[in-house]
């Protein structure tokens, strides 16, 4: 498979870019932030996303979606990254759809997937508990009770957890923290008794929540996949999320870089355009090369997820680690090369820096994935 976008994928990119750059430039995020909007994204835009078929992009055709692949999801994420558009695309259209489509029973799929595709249902994945992403360390207890389970514990950084109509929660039905065995995924109604949701206002003005579960009752038929065997399903879903966030970071990096190069060609000091100074030229060139190489690694990971899902972990670790490092460099250089202007809130560049920091943490930062890769290669 050629490591370039196909014609259809390029067309998808163009239509996503058209919509997003028109309706949700960075000023869109800025105004949601400044008005302290309670939803934190535009429901109208999400409706437009659904009409374009984006919300159901990964939903199989027999459940009302377009049944496209992870490369296509990455294409949309990249455009979201360029404009920093806050949207339930990641939480709902990527993570929840993947979890349901890969692990759900027919009844579960029929209940939720068509509603996600038509834009009427929002969902969120609740995994992280501590300060760092450590899925195997999941402690949230799920003990058998009656015809189901009782969930107790707390989750953090639940993307779009404040508006979700459905929560997909990773809990421990067996084994000890650190073990893959004994993990189970549950479909939980956020309105159920014992669920307490706190919207957390984040550095990047995107949406997340902390959620507490106090003896929350969940029916046995709301288990997603097999009891105790949810580790593999979860890891697969997380890999998809990692590929998607890596794509977002590629878009973000490229946008920051483009803005910075433009500035180098406009700003004069010492009677010259600052882009004439070799110290900046070489750093700009290095960053360009980093971004190009990262783009290839991310596309490789997405293609591997589409074509050889069970063997995609290494390529995904490479992509997420690289994208994190590259985005970090891109935003740092972006601010630095804008001088004092880069430090002002009035200027957009800081928004990119904040989002890049959150994307680093989402589903494992560069260090996490470097460690994972070393484990995969047995050293």
């Amino acid at each position: 498979m050629a490591l370039v976008l196909t014609e259809e994928q390029s067309m998808l990119r163009d239509s996503a870019r058209g919509l997003i750059s028109d309706k949700a430039p960075v000023s869109h995020l800025r105004s949601l932030r400044d008005s302290k909007d309670a939803t934190g994204f535009s429901r109208d835009l999400w409706k437009a996303f659904a009409e374009m078929g984006f919300s159901g992009l990964l939903v199989p055709e027999n459940f009302g979606g377009s049944g496209l692949g992870y490369v296509e999801a990455g294409v949309v994420m990249e455009e979201i990254g360029r404009s920093l558009m806050p949207s339930p695309f990641l939480s709902t259209a990527v993570l929840a759809v993947s979890a349901l489509a890969r692990g759900g029973s027919d009844a579960q799929k029929s209940a939720h997937l068509p509603k996600i595709a038509d834009g009427s249902l929002l969902a969120a994945l609740a995994v992280d508990e501590g300060a760092k992403h450590r899925p195997l360390q999941t402690k949230l207890q799920a003990v058998r009770s009656g015809n189901g389970f009782k969930l107790s514990g707390a989750k953090a950084l639940v993307v779009d957890g404040h508006v979700a109509d459905l929560l997909i929660v990773a809990g421990r039905t067996g084994g000890a923290a650190g073990e893959r065995n004994g993990l189970t995924l549950f479909l939980v109604d956020p309105k159920a008794k014992g669920v307490a949701i706190e919207r957390t206002v984040m550095v990047d003005a995107h949406n997340a929540a902390r959620i507490e579960f106090a003896n929350v009752e969940v029916d046995a038929d709301h288990v997603l996949g097999e009891v105790d065997q949810g580790g593999a399903l979860l890891e697969g879903v997380l890999n998809i999320g990692r590929g998607a966030v890596a794509s977002e970071m590629v878009g973000l990096s490229e946008e920051v870089f483009g803005r910075t190069v433009t500035y180098l060609k406009e700003r004069k000091q010492f009677g010259k355009l600052i882009g004439e100074f070799q110290a900046l030229q070489h750093r700009a060139a290095q960053l360009y090369i980093d971004i190009e190489i990262t783009r290839a690694a991310v596309l490789k990971a997405l293609q591997t997820l589409d074509g050889d899902f069970e063997h995609a972990s290494a390529a995904v670790a490479v992509a997420k680690a690289r994208a994190g490092t590259t985005a970090t460099l891109a935003v740092q250089e972006g601010v630095q090369m804008h001088g004092g202007m880069g430090m002002t809130d009035q200027f957009d560049i800081g928004f990119f820096m904040k989002r890049a920091r959150v994307c680093q943490e989402l589903f494992g930062d560069s260090n996490y994935h470097a460690d994972q890769l070393a484990r995969m290669k047995s050293y």
Partner: protein, 394 residues
Amino acid sequence: MSDLETFRHETRAWLEANCPPEMRRPMISENDTYWGGRNAKFSSEPQRIWFERMRDKGWTVPDWPKEYGGGGLDRAEHKVLREEMAAMSARSPLSSFGIWMLGPALLKYGNEAQKQEHLPKIAAGLIRWCQGYSEPNAGSDLASLQTRAESDGDDYVINGQKIWTSYANYADWIFCLVRTDPAAKKHDGISFILFDMASKGVSTKPILLISGYSPFCETFFDNVRVPKSHVVGTVNRGWDVAKYLLQHERAMISGMGERGVGRPLGQVAADSVGADEQGRLEDAMLRSQISTFEIDEAALGAAAERAVDLAKAGQSHPAFSSAMKYYGTELNKRRHEILMSAGGIDALEWESERSRGGARPRAWLRTKANSIEGGTSEVMLGIVAKRILDLPGA
């Protein structure tokens, strides 16, 4: 099955049947490379067999036209062949500046007689070429070169000095940049010319490198007569040919190093550094350096694959080879720093049998040239800044 799948199938079977087991191991010493040429000797029987079988299929130069001794493969087939060779760690049967550099330039700029004369001999490994670009005062600023070629009837008479000419003392012919119009602006008076290193007036003097090897020379030209018909492309437009050739050279250098073949670097390191009960490398800092390196290496591998696919789709930037050259060479230097660190004291021996004659430190030192030869890293970044990013005054 698609045609390409059939091709992959057949190629795999052919390689399995024809590549001797000894030729499926990583190259360790300079002896493992076969360079061809008038005085070439094979270092082993498997090396000879492998070379001859590949040559007979045209697969020393798989993508050259058949009429010039190539394999006539299209890009997709060539990629399949490379993948299949990599999958079984098959060695390259023939290494040559003729294949990597001169051939592509001749295919684009050579006249028919020149192609007929030189390409088949390159493909068959009969003639070994060297590159006469750099001079003592023309390194990064190559276009300021001073070696001059003066017109005399049907010939040019060449006088001057080249330096850093790799393997000039073993080469049969040279492709050389000479000044044919001293009055013109520096880029406009250069021609690209070919001649036999056995010509009267050519002499070479080897230079010892920090690795203790002497793979390159000072090369002197004292009234060397070369027929004018040996100029490739237009007289005084040699800079175009030179730059085109450099793109190929850079692409080749960026792919050097043993990317992704053999055991993971972390396991190689564990041989000397040791591992804990969980199998993790004892030295946690080295472990993180290695995995970060492997991430970058895998990403570069993807970028190299993508570069080929972009070229195929007509979407690549001609200066992108400079980007790859920069990254690939800096990465290869990192690999060897890691290998030295992993080897510790054992990697410091320079002569013993145990250390295979100091193979590891010598290879480490050799890689330092990667970011100099074929244009330095700084020059590569300058090219990216100017030609791709269009920054002012670059």
